[in-house]
Symmetry: C2
Subunit: 106 residues, 2 copies
DNA sequence: ATACTATTTCCACAATCATCGAAATATGTC
DNA sequence: GACATATTTCGATGATTGTGGAAATAGTAT
């Protein structure tokens, strides 16, 4: 994880529609959701949804897997964990934190 | 915390320059850093820095406190903690997570 | 008041983003 | 092949963002 990747993942989540998408996928669990079901749930045009999904997939936060004609989307927990880990370590957010956990180079 | 606030905070952090600013402030700890020191560290024009700082302050992630002519900026841990908490709870990111921690209303 | 430092606001501009209808593509079925 | 469904790409448009120089403001000291 580096600062550029963290920033791009944060940016991907930093949009209400995309955060809704991601949340829906997390709640759907391991089996995920087809694009069509996401579209129903969020009630947005397919082209808009596809556009947002692409951004989430590009950053690695969401994974897609074709199953016949439908595309199943799932939240990629490991990437989210890495992001949270970065925020906690680099940009420490722990309650009792009083400095970075790793030695600062410069 | 609601989804709009979480998204706007994520968006605020979703920019390399702003994430650098935030990280520098976290590393500076409780005493924070004056705007001028931030400007030296990041080597960017004052107007650009001021613009980014405003976004971080608006979302509550950074707090500013005047000390004579200099403005001291500090990272607001409580807001970051709330954000992380939201991500972990609503958009669960724990390793062993297999669903939301709270009951889903709809 | 003047001068000085710190920071912001104003202004402009190029770049990126969000949106969505229409057309195109992918996959499977008959 | 023809057809149906699922999803993406194309193309256009308005809105927002990132950037930074120049001017303005805030605060302090002399």
């Amino acid at each position: 994880m580096n600062i550029e990747k963290a920033a791009s993942q944060l940016e991907a989540l930093g949009n209400v529609t995309r955060l809704q998408i991601y949340r829906a996928l997390v709640r759907a669990g391991e089996e995920g959701l087809p694009v069509g079901r996401l579209q129903e749930k969020l009630d947005i045009p397919g082209s808009t949804l596809s556009h947002h999904l692409k951004r989430l997939v590009d950053t690695g936060l969401v994974v897609q897997d074709r199953q016949a004609t439908t595309l199943i989307c799932t939240a990629n927990y490991s990437h989210m964990n890495a992001l949270i880990g970065y925020l906690v370590d680099e940009c420490c957010a722990d309650q009792g934190c009083d400095g970075p956990r790793t030695r600062v180079v410069a």
